[in-house]
């Protein structure tokens, strides 16, 4: 039981709790804010796993852009500001079963498969900007370019979809 284990465990609990609150919150805005907490805890988890760049990109993009975008979306669609009883559909029991089953199956699978696996965080190369950048632009240039085209397409698509007919 190293320090990394403890920290990771605590961060994991926070993340999980926030995630559960995201999916059970009655306010849409509250759900978005709990999502921020979840993403933040995940960034912490990444840091423990020595993935620096990914952690900060997580904060920047996910918390900074995605959640904000969702908040904008919620406001534009006149999300009810107060508590709404009917925020959950009638599918809740089935969804609960599906969620529990999924978690159970996956959890059992990974724990059974990697019970004794150990991440040696002291002897691994830290994923900082320089290392990731080199790897990205040296070995993964094509996916990088494709990803930028994808972003362009998404940008254009979003604009087209939301254009009002003149």
């Amino acid at each position: 039981m190293t320090l990394a284990d403890v920290v990771f465990g605590l961060l994991g609990i926070v993340c999980l709790a926030a995630a559960i609150l995201v999916v059970t919150a009655r306010h849409v805005i509250h759900a978005a804010l709990w999502l921020v907490v979840c993403f933040g805890a995940l960034a912490g988890c990444y840091l423990v796993l020595t993935a620096e760049l990914v952690a900060w990109v997580q904060v920047l993009i996910y918390i900074g852009a995605v959640v904000v975008l969702m908040l904008f979306g919620a406001m534009l669609t006149r999300a009810p500001v107060g508590a709404v009883q009917e925020l959950d559909s009638g599918n809740r029991p089935v969804a609960a079963v599906a969620g529990l089953a999924t978690a159970g199956v996956l959890g059992t699978l990974v724990v059974a498969a990697f019970r004794g696996a150990y991440v040696d965080i002291h002897h691994t190369s830290i994923g900082d900007g320089k290392v990731i950048g080199t790897s990205l632009f040296r070995f993964f240039v094509l996916p990088f370019e494709v990803a930028s085209v994808l972003l362009l397409a998404a940008l254009v698509g979003a604009i087209v979809l939301t254009r009002r007919e003149a």
């Binding site: 760049l53 979306g73 159970g104």
Partner: protein, 112 residues
């Protein structure tokens, strides 16, 4: 640290995300649950990358790509939600039932 902790957290996050996708009525809330599922996958990628001690850091690089794709997806997804909202005045997914197959209306023919 134990790899299984990260993997377990990822599995549980995924399960919570599945529940959210299947249970939430508001489309925005549903998209949030999808983001949870994507993040669970990301965590898996990064954890395995650390375990493999990959010199190329392929896991972390692809985690970045997943972030990119997720961002793009949220953008387009919200555009769709907005378009639907403009058309139907609602973002409750269980009120959007155009996919349903309706019973044929029985015509009273002078048959048999």
């Amino acid at each position: 640290m134990h790899l299984s902790m990260a993997l377990l957290l990822s599995a549980l996050l995924f399960g919570v995300g599945v529940y959210g996708v299947l249970a939430r009525r508001n489309a925005i809330a549903l998209l949030m649950a999808v983001e949870l599922m994507l993040n669970a996958a990301n965590l898996d990628l990064v954890a395995f990358d650390a375990w493999f001690k990959d010199t190329l850091h392929a896991g972390q690089v692809f985690a970045l790509f997943v972030v990119v794709v997720a961002a793009a997806e949220v953008g387009v997804g919200l555009a769709i939600v907005l378009a639907v909202f403009r058309l139907r005045e609602t973002v409750a997914v269980d009120e959007l039932r155009q996919l349903a197959d309706v019973d044929p209306v029985v015509r009273v023919d002078a048959d048999s």
